[in-house]
Symmetry: C2
Subunit: 286 residues, 2 copies
């Protein structure tokens, strides 16, 4: 473990994800402070012992005392924060994030940071369909994946620290991907699935579908309850990758449609066998 | 309750669904027998008190003593069974089923039945991604939907009996649909979702995706672990309805794709808002 027990964490942005990080780090015994422009979130977190200290303004004292800063903000808000306040971060600080896309963020952030402040990006593959620090829960990381996203400029020390955070939070699998590979992966595994769920919910005007549904439709549309501000931003910041994954999906969907249209039972069964075989890899080991 | 406490049930086909019906009916105190060509299933069910009597052949005694027969077979197997053995069913018997498509089955069955044997179709909207009586569980019906699918020829008495079965098994919502409306609904809620899950699993050749995934991809592909014999049959027996639902989905998917391509953030957000609003109707009241 590279992270020392007296390390001071500062979380900037205290919603579901920032709150869950705070709870997990506090549970492991670390000092955690937070900055959020939402005073209610800070008050709630202080009252419920989610954080040790907090401010609803850009508090220079909290920034100066922090050894590691975790940004849990929307992508553009994160970039703007660094632009406006990045100079307040003291030399030697490691900063990391939870942002859902990487290419459109990392290089901009790096170009604005002081020489001795190092940004090592991370993407916790966990979440819930509810918002706010009130719904935060450090258990969402158990059995989840955590992706560290270094560039060629990152030091091994910062990569190790970032992985340590994943371990402290009890993620089950910690991996490394380049920003480009990460964005490609996420376009498929996360953004495409959200596009599908949305369209399943919007395409059919029939009423009372909820009285006839089984669990399959419920499962495929759980994520159709979606934060439109965050996700539209994520989609557009990863546009090329997402569009190409949408096309990839459609090509197999058209293939299946054609098999059905031509009564090609063997073609359908072959796709189903491949699907069943591949799906087994995704079973959680719990 | 139209069904009397001394009613004798016979279940034909003793897999996951037949076994779950048997357990639910036995738990409610009814006499339940079963016929299956799988001797292991019958032996398991007798040994574990899932049924009172059983046979691994077409046992005329079990057929004659039954007041209500529940067919839990694949669609074509069901049709063939009635063709070969339907004449053994005694007059006055009510028969029902669990078949996933209706139009392609009901009229064929009705044309082959004796005058005084009445078929009232039903579709329990519940299931699991595992098979066999060993995995059967009467609790899969709790909080699930149950659809009774009468034709103009059905008596109110048979419809009531069929609804009673849904109540005995503890389904949370019991509805009625015509065969045509049922097949349309199921093409959308169940078959389309399975097509999507399959294509999500087959379209991307990238390796180690399981190390990076979040729960959304897992949720959307749970049903990609699929019984290819049953589902290819269901797809092809409901071909026209399924193809039209695939087109319906694709039209909204193309719309969303176009919004992304043209950076139409408001268009994306409008779809997400509609999606979020509609999804709330599908939350289970548990």
């Amino acid at each position: 473990m590279t992270i020392k027990s007296n390390t001071k964490f500062l979380i900037i942005g205290l919603g579901l994800m920032g709150g869950s990080y705070a709870k997990g780090l506090k549970k492991a015994g670390y000092y955690v402070s937070a900055i959020s422009d939402n005073a209610d979130s800070i008050n709630y977190a202080l009252k419920n012992n989610v954080i040790d200290k907090g401010a609803d303004f850009v508090d220079e004292d909290l920034i100066k005392e922090a050894d590691i800063i975790i940004f849990a903000l929307y992508p553009q808000v994160f970039v703007n924060w660094i632009k406006n306040y990045g100079s307040l971060i003291k030399e030697g600080t490691i900063i990391t994030d939870v942002t859902g896309i990487k290419g459109a963020v990392i290089y901009k952030i790096n170009s604005m940071l002081k020489n001795n402040v190092e940004f090592i990006a991370a993407h916790p593959m966990a979440g819930r369909e509810v918002y706010g620090v009130e719904n935060s829960d450090e258990n969402i990381f158990i059995n989840a994946n955590y992706i560290v996203v270094p560039t060629a400029d990152n030091t091994q020390n910062a990569i190790n620290i970032c992985k340590d955070i994943g371990e402290i939070l009890n993620f089950s699998k910690i991996s490394e991907l380049t920003p480009e590979k990460h964005d490609q992966m996420i376009a498929f595994l996360s953004q495409l699935t959200h596009c599908i769920a949305i369209c399943l919910m919007t395409c059919n005007q029939a009423e009372n579908l909820e009285d006839y549904t089984g669990d399959s439709f419920r499962d495929l549309t759980r994520i159709a309850n979606i934060n439109e501000n965050m996700w539209s931003e994520l989609f557009l910041l990863n546009k090329e990758q997402l569009l190409s994954m949408m096309d990839l999906f459609i090509s197999d969907f058209d293939k299946l449609k054609n098999y059905i249209k031509t009564d090609n039972s063997n073609g359908i069964k072959d796709m189903m066998r491949l699907s069943t075989k591949r799906r087994k890899l995704f079973d959680k080991n719990i």
